[in-house]
């Protein structure tokens, strides 16, 4: 992927496909370390599936829906000196606390580190594509949250207005763009 935001899109799509009702996406910058995390409360994976998700042939042949996303994300992260960690709890084993958490660490001072890219469009695209589930996005720098969006809070204000209406999506785009403009 040319941009990290495309990796976010790819990993988060796996979460929605796994039936996640609440998907938390975060970008945390600490010095030159940038951690990308996607955490969901979807169905989760059993240990044998979890072991295979970064093997491209396991993912493309056996569980095609996972795709080549995680092997490529792992490669991109490791290419900057970072790495990928995945934790998962399957719903059969953890009926009350199932889900998956994918974390990728990139070192932004490495020449091969891709740019973050258009995160605002990524978040808008995800909300638009999955308006019936909740999405939380935060971007923090050195421990303090600088940009955030929580569709649960939006629903309290919006009532029955769906998240995928044009005005709501435009508002999301504007509020995120404004928050980003304040931290540049």
């Amino acid at each position: 992927m040319k941009e990290l935001s495309l990796n976010i899109l790819d990993v988060a799509e796996n979460s929605y496909k796994a039936g996640s009702r609440l998907t938390k996406i975060s970008i945390e910058e600490n010095g030159s370390a940038l951690t990308l995390t996607v955490e969901d409360n979807g169905s989760g994976m059993k240990a044998d599936v979890l072991r295979g998700v970064t093997d491209p042939f396991f993912t493309t042949r056996t569980t095609r829906s996972v795709g080549l996303g995680l092997p490529l994300l792992k490669m991109a992260a490791e290419g900057t000196g970072g790495g990928l960690a995945i934790e998962s709890r399957h719903k059969d084993d953890f009926p009350d606390s199932h889900g998956t958490k994918v974390s990728a660490v990139f070192y932004t001072d490495h020449i091969d580190c891709p740019p973050v890219g258009d995160v605002v469009s990524t978040v808008v695209t995800l909300v638009q594509g999955h308006p019936d589930t909740d999405t939380v996005f935060t971007h923090s720098k050195n421990g303090s949250v600088r940009v955030s969006l929580d569709t649960r809070e939006m629903r309290e204000v919006l009532g029955d207005v769906p998240l995928d209406t044009f005005e709501v999506l435009s508002w999301i785009k504007d509020t995120l763009t404004e928050q980003y403009s304040e931290i540049q």
């Binding site: 992927m1 040319k2 495309l6 491209p56 042939f57 493309t60 080549l68 092997p71 490529l72 490669m75």
Partner: protein
């Protein structure tokens, strides 16, 4: 031209050659695997400097005729055996991607 003929004409080394008679119809050059996956055409000889097992997966998905590792790059440990198993041809060129492609353009 088949992959086997290309290997002989350019004196390329072999990392895996399970389908020597596969016909080459074009050339694609690229190292960003997610990009290659969507853009390399079926039957292309794909020239890259990437050497990990993901290249075998991308070559499978894009259905390229062969992968050519340029600049004297060697495949990572186990990648040659994996490619044999998955039916992916991998050749090795000491020349750069450009010179390899130029040499191929005279043959295709």
């Amino acid at each position: 031209m088949t992959v086997s003929e290309l290997k002989d004409k350019l004196a390329l080394k072999v990392a895996a050659l399970p389908y020597p008679e596969r016909e080459i119809s074009g050339v694609y050059i690229g190292d960003l695997l997610s990009w290659v996956m969507g853009r390399a055409n079926c039957g292309d000889a794909w020239i890259t400097i990437m050497s990990n097992k993901n290249i075998a997966a991308v070559a499978t998905l894009a259905d390229t005729a062969c992968v050519i590792l340029a600049e004297g790059v060697e495949p990572d440990e186990g990648v040659g055996a994996l490619a044999e198993e998955k039916g992916i041809n991998i050749l090795l060129s000491d020349a750069g991607a450009y010179d390899t492609a130029v040499a191929m353009s005279k043959l295709l």
